[in-house]
């Protein structure tokens, strides 16, 4: 979808002398112990000069509220919670009566104005009456509204938490198509859905390069396993065969190499490939299965799944010392780990009596916690670039779909990916394809 809009983003430095100084106002520590929830009220959209709001502005308000629903640190408040109803007469702070909002414990209030194809949006902190975020967008048509709403919410999240990876990322995932699976991309909210590969067979296990320019994946067909590399610039994918029978779970390291499970010595070990796709010495070799490498941002810590001690368990390799430590001890089947960018947390799938569930382990305090609760099976967990959100695939509503939760186990939200089973979500720092 080619959007024919020009988004002019203007910080509204308003005549009243309000300034945008987020640092001195409300901030949300999404990584702190015990999440705080901030109440936000989105006021009904207004037109200019007493006129009714434009359809685009009203739609923008609805999309913003939908987006806020994905952010567990925000709670959408309702107008009915406010004594006396809508406390505003206009869009700016001097036209808003903040007192009833304060009494109703509303922390943030958002005003939306729109005429024609123009939208103005502001978020105020009710206790200080300060403007947190103010943006104006022009030439917005209906098809561009979701993206504009996502941009505004990205800015709001950035001001509140210092992070916005959720909105700035592109998810790649594997999706069932006739006769096999192909790779698709979409925003974290399921927008801009694109099929990016057309290889035939089964394309599984996508992994983004850190610059978001390439996707590595496994293609399975009657010809065996092949490593696929899809290039964003050329929109072309290339498939490569390796000696041995497998090419499983290719993963980009932060410095652009690919770690992949190959059976060059008769059993699946994890190898790093150089720029000519030649494998060097295996990482953390053993006689048993080793798959699913995941790296921290430094690239020096690697978690992976291995059957070296019997059933599959999670292990961590310290690439500086070469030490391999077991990470999971509970359960007999722990697979598909994802390491947080800071290297502190590992999420993984554990087989329980009710199916697979996602667990998180804090490697600093050595504590483990379940963050998804089915029903069905929850698999393929993956940290977002901020290490806050966790996407995963779940069969909780029949077919397999992609959901997102946080590392605190907040209620999972479905990411819409259209008809057909979708699985193996991977976060990339690139913005959505157009």
């Amino acid at each position: 979808m080619k959007l024919k809009i020009w988004i002019l983003t203007l910080l509204l430095v308003l005549a009243s002398g309000e300034s945008v100084r987020a640092a001195e106002t409300l901030s949300v520590d999404i990584f702190g112990p015990g999440q705080t929830r901030v109440n936000i009220l989105v006021l009904p959209a207004r037109g200019v000069g007493g006129q009714a709001a434009s359809a685009v502005a009203r739609s923008f308000g609805e999309y913003v509220q939908g987006d806020i629903g994905f952010l567990p640190f925000l709670r959408l408040a309702y107008l009915t919670e406010v004594l006396g109803g809508d406390p505003s007469k206009g869009l700016k702070s001097d036209e808003i009566d903040f007192k009833p909002l304060q009494l109703s414990r509303i922390d943030l209030v958002m005003t939306i104005g729109g005429s024609g194809a123009n939208i103005e949006a502001r978020v105020y902190e009710t206790f200080t009456r300060k403007l947190l975020v103010g943006k104006a967008y022009s030439q917005v048509d209906q098809s561009g509204v979701p993206r504009v709403a996502d941009r505004f919410c990205a800015q709001l999240m950035r001001v509140l938490t210092g992070k916005s990876g959720f909105f700035d990322s592109t998810l790649a995932f594997s999706k069932k198509v006739s006769g096999g699976k192909e790779l698709f991309t979409a925003s974290a909210l399921g927008r801009d859905l694109h099929q990016v590969t057309h290889d035939g067979g089964f394309n599984v296990s996508p992994s983004w390069s850190k610059d978001g320019r390439q996707l590595a994946y496994t293609n399975i067909s009657d010809l065996g396993h092949r490593l696929g590399i899809w290039d964003r610039g050329s929109r072309v994918s290339r498939l490569r065969r390796f000696p041995g029978n497998i090419a499983i779970s290719p993963t980009f390291t932060p410095d652009g190499q690919i770690a992949i499970s190959l059976s060059l010595n008769g059993h699946p070990d994890i190898y790093l490939l150089n720029s000519d796709f030649k494998a060097s010495q295996p990482l953390a070799p053993s006689w048993a299965i080793s798959v699913s490498p995941s790296f921290d941002l430094s690239g020096r810590k690697m978690v992976f799944c291995s059957g070296r001690l019997g059933g599959p368990q999670i292990f961590m390799l310290d690439r500086n010392s070469g030490a391999v430590n077991r990470v999971t001890y509970d359960g007999t089947y722990n697979t598909r780990p994802s390491l947080s960018p800071d290297g502190r947390f590992v999420v993984f799938a554990r087989l329980t009596d009710g199916g697979h569930r996602i667990f998180i382990r804090d490697l600093v305090v050595n504590q483990e916690r379940q963050i998804t609760f089915g029903p069905g099976s929850d698999e393929d967990p993956s940290f977002d670039p901020d290490g806050y959100f966790v996407s995963f695939a779940s069969s909780r509503n029949g077919g397999t779909k992609i959901y997102v939760t946080t590392r605190y186990g907040d209620p999972a939200r479905l990411i819409p990916t259209g008809p057909g089973d979708a699985m193996a979500p991977a976060w990339g720092v690139a913005t959505a394809l157009d």
């Binding site: 399975i220 396993h225 697979t335 598909r336």
Partner: protein, 183 residues
């Protein structure tokens, strides 16, 4: 199949020639349906000529296709595994032993051994497990004298379940090796 049918038709035709038209009518009457009648009258005039080239073509592609079909039928039995296991059961070993005989008999053909898993395991680990399952069969067949060059391995993990169900009965069918003629 075709060769047998043609042979029997030839015999019948020989009988017809020997006993003449009257006999042919009698034979036709004793047969169940008109189909036989039609076949006889159709082939009556120039029977010998088209039959010869047909049997010659059989010696080439069709015979190979027949052999391929027979070999695939004999290799069609799958072997099954326990959860998260790639160990061959005694029953699997028996099945593989007869497969080795088949492969020796049909030495022209190479095979693909497909390793499959049930849906309970996760996708990437299952891809590795499927390879181990296929490899277990390959190694066993190799010990029985089948060269590794004749055997290719593809692990599908849990991508191609035989039974889409979500019960132990379905899962036990899905944890399998399949054997397919490659060429």
């Amino acid at each position: 199949m075709n060769a047998k049918r043609i042979l029997s038709l030839m015999l019948m035709l020989g009988m017809l020639v020997a006993f003449g038209a009257g006999c042919a009518k009698k034979t036709a009457d004793s047969m169940p349906a008109g189909a036989t009648k039609v076949e006889i009258s159709d082939k009556d005039t120039d029977w010998q000529k088209p039959a010869a080239p047909e049997s010659r073509s059989l010696t080439e592609d069709e015979i190979r296709a027949q052999q391929r079909e027979l070999a695939q039928r004999e290799l069609g039995n799958m072997i099954f595994f326990a959860f998260d296991s790639f160990e061959l059961t005694p029953e699997s070993r028996n099945v593989l032993t007869s497969k080795a005989e088949t492969l020796k008999k049909y030495s022209l053909f190479n095979i693909v051994i497909e390793g499959h898993c049930d849906e309970r395991g996760t996708s990437e680990y299952n891809l590795a497990l499927g390879e181990r399952r296929a490899k277990a069969s390959q190694q066993f067949l190799n010990q029985l004298g089948i060269t590794n060059e004749r055997m290719t391995i593809v692990s599908y993990g849990k991508e191609r379940p035989l039974d889409p169900g979500h019960t132990e009965e379905a899962w036990s069918k899905n944890r399998r090796d399949e054997f397919k003629i490659q060429n």
